[in-house]
Symmetry: D2
Subunit: 373 residues, 4 copies
């Protein structure tokens, strides 16, 4: 190649040739890519953290795992992993069943397949554990009665997944998200274990702080304080909040000495009036992320990404103001985060082609997690 | 009186006579009452709690005292007392000067005179101390550099007033209110000393919690962290928030070893970035009432009345959300209180015939404080 | 009386004597006053405005009227009047029955008696009509199917009351208030008839504007659009909002040609999707006070007092944001008003010694209405 | 190929081969792509809609145009176009100058280059007109004094761009966005011309409705009503809102008979008090999008995408509540849209790698506009 040729290449030809090939290749790649789908497996993972519980939980938990399209054909490729935590009374299958039958973009595997095909985000492994306890939900918390769910999530499960699948087994390629109770779990476990997860997303996260439907004024607390409950069915007579209060108490203020619920309640009737009851009230508050920011501020600074959202028409009315309170507590300290309130409720904006999983949650992880790109 | 007469009286006559006399008497009383005005005195009160301060505060403080119309003519009558605390950079004369010249209902004595005459509330003594420090405000807090202002308010001043004036010297007849910094003071001192005051009203109370203009993002903190300030005039170059931050720091995170400001700041520049700085950050938070509710919950339950408000267009933008947060923290625990957000800003709804002092604050104290009625 | 005596009197003696007598008289008056109670009557008022309705409403309506303590004994005294409008599915007896059995301050007559005795406000006549239609509520609106309720309230009823009772029969002594649907009625009728009422108070007023639970997304609209309803019982299967939508439609978008509901609905299913349906949608909006401010701005300026409030935990979730929107629309134009959001829900702060009727609503009318004081 | 081979291919081999090639090709394409940058041109566009204005605007406007990386090397390729409108007192160069010097992702061309390279979105042409008038801003509105800016944007400019550049010249490939005053323009022009643009994004859009700093209470209105202003410099003495009010008035309530401002003001002093002044007040309101929804509802339904956002700490305090009001008005009618409030202010979250332009605005257009993908 002589000088003249060099100058030409330097002044544009090389660029044009490059672009020509790139265009051709991209076109071919896109054509092929649309044929690809990931694979969903469901298996049982033993949680040593969940053995011997007062409430008789199974320590062998279902886990649904989405493996991206190239997983079976690129045998040396490793992938970032996002752990996705379901809400109260749900299971891993909340994510894998279609929310609206017969429509596209209505469950996690379909969103992954389509989102990857449309290049909204790249190939990631998604891990969805089942954290439904016998009373309805673990709140992803270490409890002396329902098991050490925080440990199960960040230790047992991560260890199992990294051991069995071709993950990028490092925090910078590992994210944690969840919805409602799962959003709570993502935020709480995230702020405690930045060495395990580097990116956190809480979707409509519950129980970040007291407020609205989560105060002494919720009649479910009086119902629980004044009725003898022996089964979830009986609890439901006090409304869904009665079930909610029981599982939160089993997580935050467990009491192995008090069958069959094994809880201390945060409120009691004193002189005919509802009042906070210790130690449970303080234990609840200590487990609310707004009140954990101070303690875990330096951890939160280590995260690459911390994001959460709230539909301002959420029917669980404590969520919007407590999510704002979490943002305020973070902002006060200059802890970087993204918080969005949007026109929606607890569930109606998650799924779908224009939904937040496809457009906000998954692209956020793809943007911030290290992949073998 | 025969039976017939008795029946008549029982069936209405007695009532009519009673009403006739009552009407006559009320008419006469009202005629006289309109001629009456209270009396304003201003004197100096020595505060042993304020001696020997790093910032050279005077321990002899002006106090304006409103004595109600009958004070000089009813020599055995005793009165309930409301202590009224001014805001930052203000003095006792904030309350006694006319807010709008030439108009009625524009200062505290005029509001008292007119409100008593119109029977909106009854005769009370109002005590207005001067808590302006050399840098601009005490935040009514015990400080190792500006003096023990909380002690001055609830001990020295109460003792002086009860000793010199014909007060009803008991908590059930003693109230505490304030505006902005003074609203902060009323709420904080109120939740610590329910044995001294039984009714509390915070008007547009400041610094209840972090948020909006009270976070690390306020550029005044960077200004203070990166400039050597030696006088209030220099501080003002960083905006009014710079003065505010200094006096809050002198109250919450004082440091006698660091002239001339004698403060630790809650934020510092680390690696070019603003970050919380301990111990000051935690000390600030510990002094914010939203974070004090847990500790003083049982005190708060002892109050007869606890009320605060916020104009939702307040230019100090942390006030509305932090006032809501205080209400949420109280509601969570079932602590009775009244909280109102209203269409107004930091000052435009306080004074005037339709203002909140005349229609909300003073009637609230009159309703709840014991008087010799 | 010589000069010396004159000087003494001028310098204080006269004042002391005056005060002495006033004190004595007030004491006597207060002793008598506590013995007095008002009287409640309930009678039927014929509404020519309500004759010949499609829905078969009775044109003879119950009206409860509270006459203050002196009414029977001061035969020449005339009183200011406050009209008080009940909410949906309610009647005049919402105000007169005790909200909490066995407790004081739990209905309007008791609040009046006690409030007058405590001098929170003076003697007023309170008029409480029954505006419950056969489907559940009139929305105090002129309708071609349920009758001209606006006319009934501001013409028939006022004319009847002024004709029969010793009222101060002028706008400056006449106020209008209401709760929920009644708050809507008070605000709407108030902004249309400042020549009849000079002071307006809307308590948790409903349907001020679209929003939250009052949008196309409320499933009750789909229920109504897709089911044939022939009775209130059937409507209730679609939830209370289904009943609400029917009565609002009977008021705002009536259609005499369409038995048995006689309504046009504001939404219809088009291509399987809910969409606004004209003319009903526009008629609804035209009847929402936020959208009426522009038209009635000059009327609103004529009012002596315009106030409304909202508990920010109201379970009818459109109320808080639409009340804020009304305040914003008024503020934009400089129309004086008072708006407060408070810590409470749709009903829990109205009654009681510390409730808003006793402390906000009734004192507001007493303050602003002309009485023979 | 025999049947056996066919079965093998059908059962997996074909897929693996496909994936292998796709992977290779994608890798190659990605390597080349990173070398590419787009090109920025700035030229003048004549606006016949802007000729002969009272305020002497130039009808030849600067327009900055970003052409994506492949534009010069793929001579037959056509691209979707996004029009991007700047805010008050700004120009097209607001978008092209670096917001933070020396940092990446700090202007539109850099965000495009990097975003395309990272595959966050694909190649689009971005058109940024200069709409700064002599007084500071056009508000993208047809005005009898400053010119027909709406026409310039949707007719002259679109015609020019489609004529000169290789655009996909159809609504389904054309989007419109803007910030602040530009967000206003995007929403207003978007709801009027769905045949021209199919996707709309308003970033912190201003003047959607009255509220907070945009009411009669803003002292700038009194300043303008009581001072003779002859230049922008003089106007600025009344604060930035004075300039804002002038340009809004030149857009919404122009008056060619009134030099030098050529406006009617929406408020005037009457009897010493500020009051709405017609016809300007109504004209302003008619131009506010919240009040335009009813009229343009069917247009809004034609849009593929309608999205807007608001930083809830926006210093222009009418923006957050009026953006919520717009969402409520849309929701009431079932008009699909996305609205988000986020933790940020008027500008601090737009730029940057994690900013909203790169993560929300541009991917939204790429998702919804038709490209030759």
């Amino acid at each position: 190649m002589n000088n003249y040729q060099r100058r030409i290449l330097q002044s544009g030809l090389r660029r044009r040739i490059t672009v020509f090939f790139a265009t051709v290749l991209l076109f071919l790649a896109a054509s092929f890519a649309s044929a690809q789908e990931g694979r969903l497996v469901r298996e049982k993972v033993h949680g040593t953290s969940l053995e011997k519980t007062s409430t008789g939980e199974s320590a062998d938990r279902f886990v649904s795992i989405y493996l991206p399209p190239s997983y079976d054909t690129a045998p040396n490729k490793r992938y970032p992993v996002v752990y996705l935590l379901h809400g109260i009374t749900g299971t891993d299958q909340d994510w894998t069943n279609a929310w609206r039958k017969g429509e596209a973009w209505q469950n996690l595997p379909d969103i992954m397949n389509r989102g990857i095909a449309e290049k909204r985000f790249g190939e990631m492994i998604i891990v969805m554990p089942d954290a439904k306890t016998n009373w309805g939900g673990s709140f992803y918390t270490n409890s002396t009665v329902t098991g050490n769910w925080e440990d199960f999530i960040f230790k047992d499960l991560v260890s199992y997944v990294d051991g069995k699948y071709r993950t990028l087994a490092r925090a910078t390629s590992r994210g944690l998200a969840g919805h409602s109770m799962g959003g709570y779990g993502a935020i709480k476990i995230g702020m405690k274990h930045p060495d395990v997860y580097s990116v956190i997303y809480g979707i409509n996260p519950a129980v970040l702080d007291w407020g609205r439907d989560l105060t002494i004024e919720n009649p479910s607390f009086r119902f629980l304080a004044t009725n003898k409950i022996t089964s979830p069915e009986e609890a439901l007579k006090g409304g869904i909040y009665a079930i909610g209060a029981i599982v939160v108490a089993q997580a935050f203020s467990p009491n192995p000495e008090k069958p069959p619920l094994f809880i201390d309640l945060p409120f009691a009737v004193v002189d005919g009036k509802m009042q906070p009851a210790e130690p449970a009230f303080s234990k609840w508050q200590e487990n609310m992320p707004v009140h954990m920011v101070e303690k875990y501020a330096s951890n939160l600074r280590k995260l690459r990404g911390f994001r959460f959202d709230s539909g301002y028409e959420d029917e669980f009315t404590h969520i919007p103001p407590s999510a704002r309170a979490l943002s305020a507590a973070l902002t006060a300290r200059g802890i970087a985060h993204v918080f969005e309130e949007y026109n929606g409720d607890h569930r109606n904006r998650m799924m779908g082609r224009m939904g937040r999983l496809a457009n906000e949650v998954l692209p956020y992880f793809w943007l911030l997690l290290d992949a073998d790109k």
